[in-house]
């Protein structure tokens, strides 16, 4: 099993969710996060004083998926979330040892 983690632009989140649902992804964990990469932050001005706001709001998706589907899921996220402008985000894949469904105690593939 793999854990696919993606950090994307907030306005792309709905498109990504629909595309993943169409593909057959049944669930995910979503959080509102902030951070920065090459995009850096932005500047705000209050009564003439400039403030460098370092952190940019992003959406983070976490999806646990079968090994076979991992590359497809990554491809869908990249294709859907891409705007071509700086700050589109990152997707990475990490191996997962064990998954347990809390309600039934099912493990691994049966728990996804």
């Amino acid at each position: 099993m793999k854990l696919v983690t993606a950090v994307i632009k907030p306005h792309k989140w709905e498109d990504v969710r629909e595309a993943l649902e169409t593909f057959g992804v049944t669930g995910m964990t979503v959080s509102e996060v902030s951070g920065y990469g090459r995009q850096k932050g932005h500047t705000e001005v209050y009564r003439g004083a400039e403030y460098d706001i370092a952190l940019v709001p992003k959406i983070r998706l976490e999806i646990v998926i079968d090994d076979a589907d991992a590359q497809d899921v990554v491809g869908i996220i990249v294709k859907t979330a891409q705007t071509g402008r700086i700050g589109d985000g990152k997707v990475w894949v990490t191996p997962v040892e064990t998954v347990v469904r809390v309600r039934t105690g099912d493990t691994d593939e049966a728990a996804i």
């Binding site: 902030s34 920065y36 850096k40 932050g41 705000e44 001005v45 209050y46 009564r47 003439g48 004083a49 400039e50 403030y51 460098d52 706001i53 370092a54 952190l55």
Partner: protein, 442 residues
């Protein structure tokens, strides 16, 4: 006369609204989420303390008779001898005392001990505001600024705005900077409150300026005619000055900082209204637009001075009220017309430099009197009960330290212990803006 009386009832309630809640909202929105309640409480508690003190001795010090600096505090003690039919004039002046004291609170965001504020408020009102109100508003022959110098001040450019502005500067210099200022970024936490507060201040300002018409004992139609023409002038001037000041402030912002901001519009409203306060009865509409525009533009620049000079006037009481008050009071010497309430021509209307000199002298007297006495009061508090909140309490938030409350419960999922959510919210937002921060660039 009946209409005048009814109008004063409304005007008095409007001016009280300027402190509670308008100023509290205006300042509260600009403060940080961990100190917004304390910021608002400083206005509310000032109203309560000054209001009762005003009835005790404030009215008597202002209006019981002649005197250079103040009249006898005990002649009309607790309104003894004042007819209930005259109470509304007492209450009207009381609301001016309240807002003047409350205005100072914007300079000391998040670090002045609440006990120090509760002590400062009545002592400052007694020794600084009540005398200045006598010198300016009572206008008896011996009264220093109106009677002797002859400076025009329709509704309180000197007694209210310059007075509060210079007091704020002195208090900040003795109190010191907030922990982390100016390296750590301290953005306004809720500008919608500030926009709402500015709008309510504007509404209340009609009571403040238009209500400042003085009934001089004329009979019947003579007073009615003056009442109607003078209130028309002050209402029109108040309105146009605010409009012009919005444009003045936004123009400077757009030119210097590339963006016209909502905080700039709110600040422009207040700067313009401050500047037209002394001049509301003295100038024509052209004068009001000129004074408003100059005040908006100059104050937009002046709020940056604290970074260059290194004093942490947190919400710009100096940059808006001292600077705006000086602009309005001095420019009366330029734009005053003899058709106005003061009957004096300024420089542009062929009156020469006489008025300009009187106005400037009035400003200097107000600055010197308020500045020196505020320093004495603040030093006395500093070396007795102390001015400054404990540093750890300041960083954790004065709302929690002084009042045991948090303004917002935005993290209720993590707030098992109730009050801790305020600290979490505060520390989260401050780390959010500091990681790439090289300090505020003025």
């Amino acid at each position: 006369m009946d209409g005048y009386y009814a109008f004063m009832l409304v005007a008095t309630a409007l001016v009280l609204m300027m402190t509670v809640p308008a100023l509290a909202l205006f300042y509260g929105g600009m403060s940080r989420s961990k100190s917004v309640l304390n910021m608002m409480m400083m206005s509310y508690v000032a109203a309560a303390i000054v209001g009762i003190l005003y009835v005790a001795v404030g009215w008597s010090m202002g209006w019981s008779g002649d005197g250079t600096l103040f009249a006898n505090p005990l002649d009309l003690f607790w309104l003894d001898g004042v007819a209930t039919g005259d109470y509304i004039y007492v209450m009207f002046q009381m609301t001016f005392a309240i807002i003047t004291v409350a205005l100072i609170s914007g300079a000391v965001e998040s670090r002045l001990k609440f006990s120090a504020w509760v002590l400062f408020v009545p002592v400052w009102a007694l020794l600084v505001y009540f005398p200045l109100a006598h010198m300016v508003f009572s206008c008896t022959e011996a009264s220093l600024i109106c009677g002797r110098i002859g400076a025009q001040d329709y509704a309180g450019g000197t007694a209210v705005h310059i007075n509060a502005g210079i007091a704020a500067l002195v208090l900040v210099l003795l109190l010191g900077k907030r922990v982390g200022w100016p390296k750590e970024q301290m953005r306004p936490h809720n500008l919608t409150l500030t926009m709402l507060g500015a709008g309510l201040l504007w509404f209340g300002w009609y009571g403040f300026n238009v209500g400042s018409i003085v009934f001089a004992g004329e009979e019947g139609e003579a007073f009615t005619a003056r009442f109607i023409s003078e209130t028309g002038r002050t209402f029109g001037n108040t309105t146009l000055a605010a409009f012009a000041a919005i444009l003045g402030w936004l123009a400077i912002e757009r030119l210097v900082h590339k963006k016209a901001t909502s905080l700039g519009a709110a600040s422009g409203i207040v700067a313009g209204l401050v500047a037209i306060t002394p001049a509301a009865g003295a100038v024509d509409l052209e004068g009001a637009v000129a004074i408003g525009f100059v005040a908006g533009a100059v104050c937009a620049w002046a709020v940056g001075l604290k970074y260059k000079l290194g004093f942490d006037d947190s919400l710009d009481v100096v940059g808006v009220h001292l600077v705006g008050g000086v602009i309005g009071t001095v420019l009366i010497g330029v734009f005053s017309t003899s058709e106005g309430a003061g009957g004096v021509d300024g420089l542009l209307y062929g009156g020469g430099l006489g008025s300009l000199g009187d106005q400037t002298l009035g400003v200097l007297v107000a600055v010197a009197y308020s500045g020196v006495l505020t320093a004495v009061i603040a030093l006395a508090i500093k070396y007795t009960i102390g001015l400054r909140l404990d540093e750890e309490d300041e960083v954790n938030g004065i709302d929690l330290a002084a009042h045991g409350e948090s303004a917002y419960d935005l993290h209720s999922g993590s707030s098992g212990s109730g009050s801790s959510s305020g600290i979490l919210a505060a520390s989260t937002s401050s780390t959010a803006v500091t990681s790439r921060n090289e300090g505020v660039k003025a």
